[in-house]
Structures are given as C-alpha cells and as structure tokens.
Subunit: 307 residues, 2 copies
C-alpha cells in the first residue's frame, strides 16, 4: 500500500493568502527552515494503479499536477484518471472544495458520512459532479467496505465539530455524529492498515482503544497550543472552538495529542492538517524538537509512505 | 492601470486532471510549444496598492502565491491583503470556486449580478465568507460604480448561459439576464478603460456597438471551432451549448469572434478563458497563426498590461 501526502497544511495552506504570521511571512520570503504546504489531502493505492483520495482540498488541481501517479495513464483514452474514489472525513471547505475541481467528466465514487453527503446535496454547486459520473455512497460507521484499488475503508465517528458554514446557534453548534469521522484504510491483499484522522477534538476512550497498537496513524496536527491563533493575533478562536485537539497540553480538558498517544503503542505517528500558525512547521524550533522527542513526524507535501 | 492575467485557461486548466487530449498530454510531458495555464482570473489595480480580482478561479490560491503584488504588504498587520474587491462575470465553477479560498478572515467587497449573488446565497458553503468580512453588492447593469483602488466598473448583460449546476430543462436551460455579464473597468484618475468578457455566446448588435473603438478587450477564447470538443472525443457539447462563441467561423449562427471583431476597430484584443482543447494554445499551429493574423493576442499566466 502506498500513501502519498498531497497536502500537509490545514485550511489556508502555507503561506495563506492574507496571512502575515511569522511562518507565512518567512515562507513567502523564501527564508530557510520552512517549506510551502498545500491543504489537507492524501492519495492511497493498494495496486499503484487505482488511487483513493482522502479529502479533496481546494489545492487538488495543483496537487494532482505535482503527482505523476495521478496523471491520466498515456494511451488510456481521451478522458481518464487513475483517481477511482474520494473519501471525505468531514464537510469542511478545506476537505470538500476540491471536489469542484474533479468535475469535467471525471468518474469516481464519492464516500462520505450521511451528514456530509446531505451538506453537499444541499449545495447545488456540487451538481457539477453529475450522477452520470460520480456515485455518492454514504459510509456506514464501524463497518469495513471495499473501495477499489485493492483497498477497504472503515469509518468511525470521532469527537469533532460540524463544518463552519453549517454551524447553528445551539450548544455544540449543531454538531452530530458523522460530522467528523476517522478512517481506517486497509490493503485487502496484504492486510496492512493505517488510520487517518485529520480533524479531531479529543482522544476519548473509544478512540484510544481503536488506535491502540496501530501500525500508522496520520493525525490532526492543526495547532501546537490551544490558544496559539489568539496569541498570534490571527483569530478569536481556540483550537477547541474549531474542533481541533492541540499537540501540547498534558492535563484536564486540554490534554493534547502527544500526551494522549503516549501510552497507545502506535508504531508510527505523523501529524497532518498542520495550521500555518503552528511552530512545529519551523525546522529547529523547540516545538518541532518536542514533537520529535515524543515520537511524532511532521508530514510534508510529497511525503510517501509504504506499508 | 495595471492588468495582470492570473489565469488564462478555461475550466479545468492546462493540463486538466483527467484529460489526455494532445495539448494536455504534451504540456504534462513538458514538450515545447505549450505552457501550463491556470483557470480564468485577472487582477486589476489603478494605484498598484489595492487590487480588484475579476473572477475567482479554483486556482486562486496558487495564483495569489505566484503574484508578488497580491501578497500581504509586510508590516501591514497579521491578517491583511491588497485584494480589496472581487467582481464576478457569471456563476460558473471556474469563476466562483476560488471564493472558498478567500475565507479565513479576508475582508473584501464582492460584486456580482443579482442572479449570481442569489446562486451564491442558495449555497450555504459560501457562508464561509461571513458578512463580517465580505460585503456582497449586486452590480447594477449599465451603470458605472466606484469599486476602490481608483477603479470603476460598469456591468452589462451579454449573450450567455446560466451556470451548469443551475441549468433546468427549459429552452435556454433557464438562462436569464445577468447570468452572464461583461465588465468595463476604468481608471477613475486617467480615464483609461478596458472590457473583460470571458464568457459570451455571440457578439450581437448591442455588444458590437458597446465595444466599437475600445482600447482593449479581453474576450472569451474558449474554443477555436464550435465542435472542437466533440471532434476530439472530449465532450458531447458544442461551444454554443456551453454558451461560448468560437474564434473561427464566418457566417450564420456560427459567426466567430475573429469575424465579429473585424470591423469594430478595437485597438488591442486578447483572448482569455482558453480551453485546453484549443489549438491556438500551441505555438506555431496554423490556428495560432490565424488568430495572430486577425490581430489577436493569446493571454498567458502572468501577462501584464499597462493602460
């Protein structure tokens, strides 16, 4: 099984169009220690021929053009693509807007929770993915299904938040089960498997039990500290308000992912969906050193993992 | 006034993710005579400080990152952008999807026809452009309004078609006035002006009269021949079905833009919104020679015009 990180950043990417934070300003100026990053998507294949996209970021056209394996195979017909399926983990813009770049007759199966498919159906702009070309399949929770390319996926609910554009005024902003899911992707031939959870508000007992002993987890690396965007003058929101656990934090409501994973025995753990404000993006920073000491890797665009 | 072509291609860009046509295959392979092109957007400024985007293509983040003038000015605050306004000429995905990349607190004024604003309002995903940051203004037709940055725009209806995702089963697919507009952008200080019409089904008498003697027109260059996508095995649709006049064609219903402009006395005419199937994209092709003989230029990404 081949896993390619198409985009390792959270919404906005690095640099973000309107952001002057230290990371964005430095990467824009080409200073060393930081690399540009596009927004959150992966590509996975069991057979190296048919590919499953995990989330479709707004940068998906640029990401496909940068990935040789995702080009139409020469001689495969005038309109063709090795992209056979797309699976979504939530309805956030940084995970669904790229669907609008998979129009123009590209044929694929779209997997998402019932809640996310309802959100797409309520937005007529996604009609450019016509039912002639795109089959929309509601992902059952806690059930493994075959998705082509020699792969199977199992979706499960994780603590999270409904997409920003669907928030209401209620407690929890109207979040319901299925708004945020994790995916276990497995190779149906070799049995190799990994978990992909780019948006997650907390590692609760159920998630901890599920991930225990896993070979590989790609996990929500949005923020290093819960209040980092407020502290940098970028936003009024904490990570918790956005539905994202932080990397750091050791106790109480703010236990972070490093602490939560410390006893899970996960063989390889990689942060994805990393916000431009996050100091771990900077090589040599104390925060980068801290996550590496805790056994984590920082995903980068073009990163390839074989399982 | 400075006009920058951020993206010169029609929907899908060059190469298009799932396209194996000769142009897409050759540009993907890096063969000479063709350059990659992102999708249809311009940036315009009167003062070089505040910028107006004309259409927001799905590639807008990549385009902004490639355009030094559109980066947040250093020292201008943590969240800042020289992009002060965006004007849309229709509701097509290749012109509106990029709005989803102008979220994250970017403040601007969004100008579009009442019809297009209604389409956006009916799609909750565009709620990520909150009214706290983005003011939506319905463009009156045939009335000049100031839009900041020393610029004014005047919108006018042109023959066209409603966006694909809004088509209905009626004759004309439900197209109504305002679904497709042209824009005259003028410098309020110097009086310099140009027309931008990236989607247009025909040059009727009213449009011909309006463009007569213009200094610069950037015009719909989607297809060279009306049936080119069918002939290449790419689509079942003619240019007319998609709401696009062709470049070639000299008589009857299929009079093309070269012929239609021949007697208009437009000083400088440039094709934009060029589909990947169009043979004029290939340097040295007979079609490229024909449009150049007719006095047309082919826009390219990064092209800059000063008026």
């Amino acid at each position: 099984m081949i896993v390619k990180v198409l985009g390792s950043a959270a919404g906005g990417g690095l640099p973000q169009a309107n952001c002057n934070c230290r990371n964005c300003a430095d990467v824009r100026a080409g200073r060393p220690g930081l690399s540009p990053r596009t927004q959150s998507s992966l590509a996975v294949s069991g057979d190296g021929k048919q590919w499953l996209l995990l989330n479709a970021s707004p940068d998906i056209r640029q990401q496909i053009n940068a990935t040789l394996e995702l080009a139409p195979p020469p001689g495969s017909g005038m309109r063709a693509s090795p992209i056979a399926a797309v699976a979504l983990t939530n309805g956030d813009v940084d995970h669904v807007a790229g669907l609008l770049s998979l129009r123009e007759g590209l044929s694929f199966t779209l997997y998402a929770s019932k809640r996310v498919l309802e959100a797409l159906a309520a937005n007529s702009i996604f009609n450019v993915l016509s039912s002639r070309h795109v089959t929309r399949v509601a992902l059952p929770l806690e059930e493994r299904i075959a998705v082509g390319g020699g792969l199977a996926i199992e979706a499960y609910a994780v603590p999270g938040k409904v997409a920003l554009y669907l928030e209401d005024a209620s407690d929890g902003f109207g979040t319901r089960e299925g708004d945020s899911i994790g995916l276990e992707i497995s190779d149906r031939v070799t049995g190799a498997a990994f978990h992909y959870i780019p948006g997650c508000a907390a590692v609760d007992a159920s998630l901890a039990a599920r991930l225990h002993g896993a070979r590989l987890v790609l996990f929500d690396g949005t923020l290093y500290t819960d209040e980092e965007m407020i502290a940098q003058g970028l936003s009024e929101k904490t990570g918790q308000r956005m539905g994202h656990i932080s990397m750091s934090g050791a106790q109480g409501a703010k236990v972070g992912s490093m602490a939560a994973f410390a006893t899970l025995g996960v063989e390889r753990r990689i942060y994805v969906h990393i916000n431009n404000s996050n100091p771990v993006l900077r090589e040599g920073s104390p925060e980068r050193a801290a996550v590496e000491r805790a056994g984590w890797e920082i995903a980068y665009d073009g990163m390839e993992i074989r399982l």
